[in-house]
Amino acid sequence: MALLEVQDLHTRFRTDDGIVKAVSGVTFELDRGQTLGVVGESGSGKSVTFLTVMGLVDPRLAEMTGSVRFDGEEILGRTSTQLRSVRGKRIGMIFQDPMTSLNPVKRIGWQLEEAVLIHNDVPRREARRRAIEVLEEVEIPRADARIDDYAHQFSGGMRQRVMIAMALINQPELLIADEPTTALDVTTQAQILRLIGKLQQEHGMAVVMITHDLGVVAELANDVVVMYGGRIVESAQVDDLFEKPEMPYTWGLLGSMPRVDADVERLEQIPGQPPSLLRPPPGCSFNPRCPYVFDRCRTELPELRPAEGKSDHEFRCHLDDGDRARIWTQKQAAMAGESAA
């Protein structure tokens, strides 16, 4: 049985302007010890999907349907009190901005101890010991002294380590990381990614890595889902996705990354903006920005279908197999084309 099973998840926000369909029919599974990369632009619904999974969307503002099973148990629709045994204990979460996620007027030691005390019946002394231990585990030097510092006394990368420590302190089975390295320098990003990978191996955690950067996914994930306009548009094992992506949006994402290993005169860009989730375009939600659009795309939403010969590689696109293979071969050549090295 998979650790996390999400079935046909929908999240619709009621706003003054109408209903915002932030998540529309998302389905995926995550096994223990695996890493799932979730890729998409701002507004693709990737964060809302996991806020819904965690029960962090206010049910007074949104309508949520579908099913979220964690370790076989349905957790969608549970109240905060009912979720307490799961959230923060069996599922840990890291957010993008470590400065706003930490309390600026409490010492970080106090915040870490609180996370222990809420879930375990132990004396504060024991909680503190555990806090120092976990700070050492995330490689914060002189953890026993640093534990009495405030968030502002840490650098950005160190703050993100504190956030990771807090998420890990109860040894969760699942870690959800929402853009954990987006605000950081590349060198610090490399440190944090290596750390998450190391901790995952040691603890056998499952990890969900939410990001807009395909490079981060390539580095860390086993499986990848690409989200666009609140839907999954492509999902595959990481090697398959990078070797032969099947969906024009994924091609665009890959082409728009500046690369160190190739010299390209002009980056490919995906024109326009992500779709409005208030009034999504009819048919395929990518059709207004897709260079290969034809009539069918404008009226009919493509269903997820498996790629040729790969049952675990699914995508949404009306283009037939021959056309897609041809286009991808051309793209590959264009991306590596002028690589002088």
């Binding site: 002189r142 981060v216 390539a218 728009s256 500046p258 002009r266």
Partner: protein
């Protein structure tokens, strides 16, 4: 800086920076402020930039790249050195004297959410430089603003909207339109795409390139991501703790980096190719950039360097020297990388020995105090 740097023909360059230094005082006491230390944010930067070219500046947070940009734009007064813009020494000009020069250089900032006035309409934001410099009539200005909106790929009818009605990428376009409004010669871009999604990043980078071609612009382009810089720059300067450690034309520097720090930055960037990513060798630097109040002795990179040699790197400061056989590629290192991509032997130079635990711990610790 008393010694003169040899700039063969100052007329040839739009911007010449010589021995630029910016020190911030660290003071103690409320009434009688006593200077107890100095933050050497920029400590000896030299470069020249021809019109129509782009200089990319790369480094981690805290390496002084933004301070350098602010000195060049004279938002800060340099402590030492010289800035020659368009043949004129602007290092110590007064605010009044800077005025006409401000028409020639503009800045684009990192955060498109914070750098646009939320209570002004887009038309007013973009037209403000025109107003400040008293160019044209109100009608002229409006026409110019609408033209600018079109140039940067926005709808001219959005003239009356507020910044919050735009996405991050569109806001950065507004910032660029504002920078273009008075036809500057030089635009200093301080991390213009760091806050944006990858797909939007590509749009903005392409836009900046197109504008350079169409309007003959010169850029100083600051970023922490070497990928991004490579894409737009003719020359790249890698900075560490206020000093350049390697400079070169884009191609040479990326094909065969010499300084281990450049190697570390290059290898830190995630590659969008899982097989290649797993196969390559990565230098993961420990800790953060040390405090510029009390920088490490000699080579400032030595506490984090994988090729550190005791008795040399921490005693003798390396000068910038030219790579043999390549003009315009300089590095400051005693034990430069010899091969790229590097192997295990590159990571540990012969004669170098792995630092014992105390040295390694002492180094990052310094940055927390």
């Amino acid at each position: 800086m008393s010694e003169q740097l040899v700039v063969d023909d100052p007329e040839k360059y739009l911007l010449v920076v010589e021995g630029l230094e910016k020190y911030f005082p660290v003071t103690r006491g409320l009434v009688f402020q006593k200077e107890v230390a100095q933050v050497k944010a920029v400590d000896g930067v030299n470069f020249t930039l021809e019109a129509g070219q782009t200089l990319g500046v790369v480094g981690e947070s805290g390496c002084g790249k933004s301070t350098m940009a602010r000195c060049i734009a004279r938002l800060l007064e340099p402590t030492g050195g010289k800035i020659i813009f368009d043949g004129r020494d602007i290092t110590h000009l007064s605010t009044q004297e800077m005025r006409p020069i401000r028409r020639e250089m503009m800045m684009v900032f990192q955060d498109p959410y914070a750098s646009l006035n939320a209570r002004k309409r887009v038309g007013a934001i973009i037209g403000e430089p025109l107003e400040v410099h008293d160019i044209g009539t109100a009608a002229d200005r409006k026409r110019r603003v609408q033209e600018l909106l079109e140039i940067v790929g926005l709808n001219p009818e959005h003239y009356n909207r507020f910044p919050h009605e735009f996405s991050g990428g569109q806001r950065q376009r507004i910032g660029i339109a504002r920078a273009l409004s008075i036809n500057p010669k030089l635009i200093i871009c301080d991390e213009p795409v760091s806050a944006l999604d990858v797909s939007v990043q590509a749009q903005i980078l392409n836009l900046l390139k197109d504008l350079q071609r169409d309007f003959d612009l010169t850029y100083v382009f600051i970023a922490h991501d070497l990928n991004v810089v490579r894409h737009v720059s003719d020359r790249v300067m890698v900075m560490y703790l206020g000093k350049p450690v390697e400079t070169g034309s884009g191609k040479e520097l990326y094909a065969l980096p010499k300084h281990p720090y450049t190697g570390a930055l290059l290898s830190a960037v995630p590659i969008a190719d899982p097989k290649l990513g797993r196969a390559r060798k990565q230098i993961v630097l420990e800790g953060d950039v040390p405090s510029p109040i009390n920088p490490p002795t000699a080579c400032r990179f030595h506490p984090r360097c994988p090729r550190f040699v005791d008795g040399k790197c921490n005693v003798d400061e390396p000068e910038l020297i030219q790579v043999a056989g390549e003009k315009d590629h300089d590095y400051a290192c005693h034990f430069p990388l010899e091969r790229w991509p590097m192997g295990d032997d590159e990571l540990r130079h012969e004669g170098a020995f792995a630092r014992e635990a105390p040295a390694q711990e002492a180094a990052p610790a310094a940055s927390f105090d």
